[in-house]
Amino acid sequence: MAEPGLRLVPAHGGADVDALLARVARGDSRAFESLYDELSPAVFGLSRRVVRDPARAEDVTQEVFLEVWRKAARYDSGLGSAKTWVMTIAHRRAVDAVRRSESQKRQDDRAAPDEVNHDEPAEQLIRTEEHGAVRTCLETLTELQLESVRLAYFNGYTYNEVATLLEKPLPTIKTRMRDGLIRLRDCLEGQR
């Protein structure tokens, strides 16, 4: 065990979540509760990173799970795993929220590259197996790839805004973002 307060959460196989979502699609509210237990730390953690304000992150988390409940029967497994589906919804909702509330503020403090590093305090982080693999794999990205991916994914910036923040040409950021994600994908494949 490491820091006090650090909660170890067993890493579950993706199959559990897929099976749960299939039951949710049939209106099984107990499966929905289990799905919430399974995925709410990931959804809340991501929302929290993107919108920053904890109360807003709770709202986003609620919106995400309601959308999952509503649309479970329309989930198409051909488009990815259930967990990816939920996290994709979570990211879109969080980004929507941050763009709505910060479009004005953005105008004011356009250059804030210090936002690149704002890791959550360690005691709140839930350590999953994912955590180690992702950290290892992010280290394989070049600095510019990493910053492009993180500013877009965790701060909700468009690649246009990222280019402005990092003072790089648009096409450069566009390709670095893609190359970075491809490198992350390839590395994570090897870590399974």
Binding site: R48, I126, E130, Y153
Partner: protein, 233 residues
Amino acid sequence: MSTDLHTLSGAYAVDALSAEEAQLFDKHLEECESCRAEVRELRAAAARMGSAAAVAPPADLKARVLAAADHQAQLPPRVRPAEAVRRRPWLTRAAVAAAAVAVVAGGAAGVSRLGDDEAPLASGVTRVFEARDHREAEVSTEYGEVRVATSPSRNEMAVDARDLEPLGDGRVYQIWSIRGSEHQPVIALVGDVKGASMAMPAEGTTVAITIEPSADQQQPTTEPIVAVDPRAV
């Protein structure tokens, strides 16, 4: 152009495109199998990165989410045939006249969808959808499908917006009738109001839905998520 578009897959996978670019890329995806595969994989990688940021939510959030879901109807599985309406981003006002909505005669396709296990529509709305001579169209928006029906014998039109996803932050869907530069608020979809019926608007009038910060707007503050010429239904 297509090579250029293709490199947007990374930004698209992490929601880093502007709304306009995302629409362009959506179109591109429909024709590009390898791009769809790439987006799928990059999203999976991004999702794992997001999961690594997991933080335990406050314990009381769970009860709130479960209670909210309890009051929320689920959407039925998609039963439409493969060639049915594709996800169609909102139409700009200029494109309204040409709005290629998928027109369904008032037959089987429309009726089966009335069986959705969602809140019932006001009787005025149902009357138009059930009128013997009604014509019906389904239009896709970024927020879900909207059904529109018109009935010449009743000289009415109706909108069924039950499939639109709920909005947060007190925002509402607002229906407008638009003629030239004039915008008339028709009704805000609040509470149990999930649709509207109205007298058939005059020729040259379009009916549009916007998302508004509150229910009392006199002018739209956002671009329509959908706009329909009722005469084209």
